[in-house]
Amino acid sequence: MNIVACVKQVPDTEAQIKVKGDGSGIEEGGIKWVMNPYDEYGVEEALKLKEKLGGEVTIVSMGPARTMETIRTALAMGADKGIQIDDPALYTADAYATAEALAAAIKGAPYDIIFCGQRAIDDDSAQVGSILAELLGIPQVTFATKLEIDGTAVKATRPIEGAAMVIATSLPCVITATKGLNEPRYASLPGIMKAKKKPVDIKKAADLGVTGASKSKVAKFTPPPARPPGKILCADDTPEGKAAELAKLLREEAKVI
């Protein structure tokens, strides 16, 4: 089975994000970059599938030189090879241009199933997996929390408000992974060592025949407004008095009840 897992390198959730003075992006200095957590579920599912059915797992990622570290992380977990798309023309690519580049890279070799994270935790667009499926002309199931494959038949579970939905489709397809699908493994040390020697193909936009033309553009980044100070309820010192005051504020000021 030929399995592809797309991964994105994102700032660590704890990293301190500072917007550049001109609002064109974020300051990258001092940021710890990690694999997008939802993509980890995709990689893990790809590896489990490989362990069960055999085959090969290819990691595809787009980003500057630092992205290689994230590809190596996936290879350390057990993937076999990688493709890195690194072209300055693509550094500001939107979801469409990203999916287009990924599709072009994936198309170069046979594939049976493609995993993506349901969204990246940096821009939260949740579009790349879907666009990728459309560009490749194959079915997709998003937000998968369970996946069963029998021959070419695919059954994926997807949470919906208060219930679950089981979607049947067939290979080849795109699955976007979310929390609950699995528990991503911790890379073993031999895995980390072997990953250093696994092949990673570096491709430019020209190699893939894409231009990186985006359909949308980020106009400006702004930091979230500073949190306003809290309010201490002082009108009455009894619990009843405080509760009444709180209810009043929630109704009249916050207008939530």
């Binding site: 710890k32 911790y186 031999p190 010192d237």
Partner: protein, 735 residues
């Protein structure tokens, strides 16, 4: 010498009285017994050397001999536990004296008398007689104590989880020893009953003299006949004892002192780093063959005494881990595995295997001859257990045992056979983490946090220096010309409770005029939890990052407020080129107080303090005294010790990466907090942020957080210095 040659003033006795003609037979039997003994040791030696990786434990000979004399001959370690110490001491020293007695007898008979210079005469003889009887009684007393302990008192430590672990061998050994002594006394009594009228001085052989009265009325002929019989029984016991040594628990007479000789010479808890990650094929210990030969030998030095188990925090709170069981399970597995390995070991010794080039041809011939003997013996003896196909890690040693260890070092510190448990546990953890990546999910999260933010909590690394922002503490990047680096560590930088310790310590140092700085965001996690949790790779990454920064600033002296970082920086960083003088803050504070640089002014009103020894300060670094000196410097403070203190202190439960793992069942910290509550402590002083968290949580568990407070010594001292006005609780609703 004839009986008639002795008289008052020239006392003595006829050595080999009534047994003169048994001498040649005795000689022959002794030779056979020595051969059985030597053969047993040889067979065991094959097993010791058949499995395990090489490790040099014969360097630094003088120190090793000292350790051997101290604990092999003087039994220093066994005394640390009074009852078993006395019990073993009576048997051991009794035997040593009796052994010399027998040697004196033999020398008198075979050497001194024929040369005409007998020495077992006169006052010396009387003293000698008295001593022999006294130590004979001592051995008997020791055996009775042992029987009482094993079969009547039955302390839990001689078993496992309330089930006694008494084996036939245990009883046989005690009976043989008792048999030797009892028959010895009977022989003596029978001899005296025949000769007492000519030898009134035999009253010095006070046991024999007293017992002789029991034979009053027995005719001299009958007594002499009985004497001959009992003499043979005595001889059978004594020779049987020697022959039995290598085939029974008595082997510890050899293996335990040998283990003292071969005990590690490294600082307590220092771990051998894994070298060459790039080219090594396996990491940690996944099979018994991956232990070093010494780690395996350890289990043959174990006497199942259970001292380790007696203070193991995991065992005492109901976890499956018992250091004794771990060592014994390893031994059992080794005994199954060794015969197979011995075959290839023999090939090496006899000449064809790898590594046989250096063996003398004559020795090779001897081994070939012995091999033939082995085959005959093996064909005629019942077969040992069939080797089982068990996984060393996971089956022989259960994973719940492996991960229950807090690395508190109680077992190693208190083992009377110098067994090194903790490195074995870490070795097996390394296998689970590095090779199989199969370990608790919460620990995986901890490691990811350490990888991404260089702290186990996973709080943004950029916040590391924030606790010091308002204190005017400079980083080394701002001013590298300071005497000390204050290595804050993760708890002191990120944990709200830990940050208070850092603040208090910084203020103390500033007040005392100590020149110091911090690394701020350039500091990394010390890596202790990764190292002890088996993630050596991650640990070395952290250690190297710290060392690079510290060496870059030319750091020479370091103050640590967390004993985990203190221990790692002091003992393990030198492996990677990080050589610093490392101090724990209690050392620095104690010195500042003694030099008068700081003064604790605010008296406490007769408050009962107790001090909880952090394992990484106490057992790991022998810092028992400094923290207590600090408490004693507080006017009005009363220091009361918990029952378990100093070397026998009880862990808080957070060491060995346990801080980051779920604890099921009774919690260690709750048990420790209870011990402090029980002695009526009002303040639990600690010197470790992990201990502080654990003790605070334990107090909450018992609902005592309002009455009893757990504080770090730095906090106690800073408060006691009275330089900061106590802030009233913030009044938020002022009108």
């Amino acid at each position: 010498m004839e009986l008639s040659t002795f008289s008052i003033g020239h006392e003595g006795r006829e050595v080999f009285w009534n047994a003169e003609h048994f001498e040649p037979i005795l000689f022959m039997l002794t030779f056979v017994v020595m051969a059985i003994f030597a053969y047993g040791v040889y067979r065991r030696w094959l097993m010791w050397t058949a499995i395990g990786k090489p490790e040099n434990r014969t360097d630094d000979r003088n120190e090793r001999i000292k350790a051997l004399l101290k604990n092999g001959l003087l039994q220093i370690k066994t005394w640390s536990d009074p009852y078993p110490g006395i019990m073993h001491g009576l048997i051991f020293f009794g035997f040593v004296v009796l052994f010399f007695g027998a040697a004196f007898d033999a020398t008198e008979f075979h050497v001194a008398e024929p040369l005409g210079v007998p020495f077992l005469v006169g006052k010396f003889y009387l003293f000698f007689s008295f001593l022999m009887d006294l130590f004979g009684l001592a051995v008997l007393g020791g055996v009775l104590m042992a029987l009482d302990r094993r079969y009547l008192t039955k302390p839990d430590r001689l078993g496992y989880k309330g089930v006694p672990d008494n084996r036939p061998d245990d009883a046989i050994v005690l009976l043989i020893i008792a048999g030797i002594i009892v028959t010895g006394f009977i022989i003596e009594a029978l001899r005296i009953s025949v000769t007492w009228q000519q030898t009134p001085w035999e009253v010095w052989s006070f046991v024999g003299w007293t017992l002789a009265k029991a034979f009053t009325g027995v005719s001299p002929e009958a007594a002499k006949m009985m004497h001959k019989w009992v003499w043979w029984i005595h001889t059978a016991f004594a020779l049987g004892f020697i022959a039995y040594i290598p085939y029974s628990r008595l082997m510890h007479i050899i293996t335990t002192p040998a283990n003292y000789f071969m005990a590690t010479r490294k600082p307590v808890g220092q771990l051998e780093p894994i070298k060459d990650f790039e080219n090594a094929e396996s990491f940690g210990v996944g099979t018994i063959e991956e232990f070093t030969w010494k780690q395996i030998f350890d289990s043959d030095a174990c006497t199942r005494c259970g001292r380790c188990q007696d203070g193991c925090p995991a065992y005492l709170t109901g976890k499956p881990l018992s250091p004794k069981k771990l060592v014994q399970d390893m031994k059992e597995y080794w005994l199954e595995k060794a015969p197979g390995a011995v075959a290839s070991r023999k090939e090496q010794l006899m000449g064809s295997g790898e590594g046989s080039e250096n063996i003398n041809p004559k020795l090779k011939a001897l081994f070939a001859w012995l091999d033939k003997a082995d085959k005959i013996v093996d064909e005629n003896l019942p077969k040992g257990p069939e080797p089982t196909e068990k996984a060393m890690v996971g089956e022989v040693i259960g994973l719940d045992e492996l991960w229950a260890c807090t690395n508190c070092m109680y077992c190693m510190e208190n083992c009377s056979a110098a067994i090194e448990h903790v490195p074995k546990i870490i070795g097996m953890r390394q296998f689970k983490v590095l090779m199989e990546a199969d370990f608790a999910p919460e620990l995986q999260l901890t490691y990811r946090n350490m990888e991404n933010n260089s702290n186990p909590w996973g709080i943004g690394a950029h916040l590391r220096g924030d606790w010091a922002k308002e204190l005017g503490v400079k980083t080394l990047s701002e001013d590298p010309n300071v005497e000390y680096l204050f290595y804050v560590g993760c708890a002191g930088s990120f944990d709200d409770r830990g940050k208070k310790i850092s603040v208090a310590l910084a203020k103390i140092l500033q007040t005392a005029g100590v020149s110091f700085g911090i690394l701020g965001t350039e500091e990394s996690c010390c890596g202790d939890s990764a190292m002890r949790g088996g993630n050596e790779y991650l640990y070395q990454t952290m250690a190297q990052a710290n060392i690079e920064v510290m060496n870059g600033y030319g750091v020479k002296k370091v103050i640590c407020s967390c004993p985990h970082g203190y221990n790692a920086l002091k003992k393990d960083y030198p492996h990677f080129g990080g050589n610093y003088e490392v101090y724990h803050h209690t050392e620095i504070i104690a010195e500042l107080i003694e030099k008068g640089k700081i003064k604790i002014k605010v008296p406490v009103d007769d408050v009962r303090f107790t001090y909880h020894d952090s394992c990484f300060l106490g057992r790991y670094n022998q810092l028992y005294d400094q923290p207590r000196r600090i408490i004693k410097a507080i006017p009005g403070a009363r220091l009361v010790e918990m029952e378990r203190n100093h070397e026998k202190s009880f862990c808080c439960g957070a060491g060995g990466a346990r801080m980051w793992m779920e604890e099921h069942g009774d919690r260690i910290n709750d048990a420790r907090a209870k011990q402090a509550i029980d002695i009526g402590a009002k303040t639990i002083a600690v010197g470790c942020p992990f201990c502080l968290t654990m003790m605070s949580d334990g107090l909450k568990f018992h609902g005592k957080e309002e009455e009893i407070v757990a504080l770090d010594l730095a906090e106690i001292v800073w408060k006691g210095m009275g330089l900061e006005e106590e802030k009233a609780p913030v009044e938020v609703c002022e009108v």
